[in-house]
Amino acid sequence: MKENVVVIGGGVAGMEAARQLLLLGYNPILVEQQDHLGGHVAQWNRLFPDMAPAGDLVRRLWDGITDANIFLETRVTSVNRLKDDYLVMLSNGVSISCRAILIASGFKLFDAARKEEYGYGVYDHVVTNADLESWFNGNESDRIPSAPRSVGFVHCVGSRDLKAGNSQCSKVCCITAVKQAIEMKERFPEARVYCFYMDLRLFGKKYEDFYIRAQQEFGIQFIRGRVSEVGETLDGRLQVKAEDTLSGKPLKVQLDLLVLMAGMSCNPDVAELARMARLDIDSDGFLRSLDNTAGIDVSNRPGIFYAGACTGAKTVPETLGEARSAALDIHRYLQGR
């Protein structure tokens, strides 16, 4: 009889961890609220920096967990500690006894409508990074004009924003904006494409190369200044105001499409999970790791581990790496080592 490990959250973190746990000889039980696995990545079109189709990654992860127990459209209703075990109750009536739990509950995409000055949901041609990926995936949208002459990207929407309650950088938005800007320029070579940024945080492997390509091959203009106000013109275009901080002057430009790079906020459902399992929440609302340097996947409770964006903004490779290390840490914990 293989030992149970409950994995909460069926995004790429939970899938990869379940895959590793299967390989290590355990019986992972994957619990996902939604009706599909893959989380946010499953909604994405292509992944930076290699432009690999996101669907391929999700399918590969699926193939690795065909032997796992997967409960879709299922929530955790309670977590109780009984001596050395946890009793996890699910909304489908199933109860599971296990010694280890992996939390991979991910993040919530920041609700861009909260930055009212950008007019998401008010102006016809303001979309988010997620909306654009959905359109790249072939879903039609009347928000995206058929032949835009000019397109703008706003970095840091709801990230690095104390007023919005998110002091953290979402890490992936700068490179996502560069990626999406290139993709738009590929589709509409005549369009002028602008990225409005506060800092360009292109820290990952190949990210800076991507940025240079965006400038060199695609002529994408990077304007250092946060967009402060968006209005709609008589012909339905967008009037965008920012400061060109490198010129030290206010700047305005009319655009046919504005893409808001909504950042990663903590998943609000995690608060209830933390209450049930007596887990610590960090000041940013994400789950608090025991140690942010060497124990990012370790919680304050014995046998409960973390992977992915439940502890903070992560890239896909970071998430997959954490999922693997959490699986190993669970293995060591269950082996009593």
């Binding site: 400038q215 060199q216 490198l246 010129s247 002057k249 700047l251 430009v253 009319q254």
Partner: protein, 105 residues
């Protein structure tokens, strides 16, 4: 016109829709590396002319992108080439400046 003792002020706003970027486009055609400037300011920090003449290659490239006349800055350049030594993106800055001078001619 009536004199009220005050007048409408000229707006300092850069209007990208009205900016004439023809010179910038011509420069990029001749010197594609003009596009990869990332505004780090190394060129201006080390520039012989900058402290005394207002020359700043960073501002020259930015100004062209915004449709501004950058000739007054260019005229301060002594063509010493120090900027090309420090540019982390390896832009041939001296050559770029000479090309730009030809565009203005």
């Amino acid at each position: 016109m009536m004199d009220f003792g005050f007048k409408l002020s000229k707006s300092a706003t850069l209007d990208l829709d009205r900016a004439d970027t023809g010179r910038y486009e011509r420069l990029c055609a001749l010197e594609p590396d003009a596009r990869i400037c990332m505004n780090c300011g190394s060129c201006s920090a080390t520039c012989t002319a900058a402290p005394f003449s207002g020359m700043s290659l960073r501002k020259v490239i930015l100004g062209l992108q915004r449709g501004q006349d950058v000739r007054p800055m260019l005229q301060g350049c002594m063509l010493c080439g120090k900027c090309s030594m420090v540019c982390p993106r390896g832009i041939n800055t001296r050559h770029l400046i000479l090309t730009l001078c030809r565009i203005y001619d």
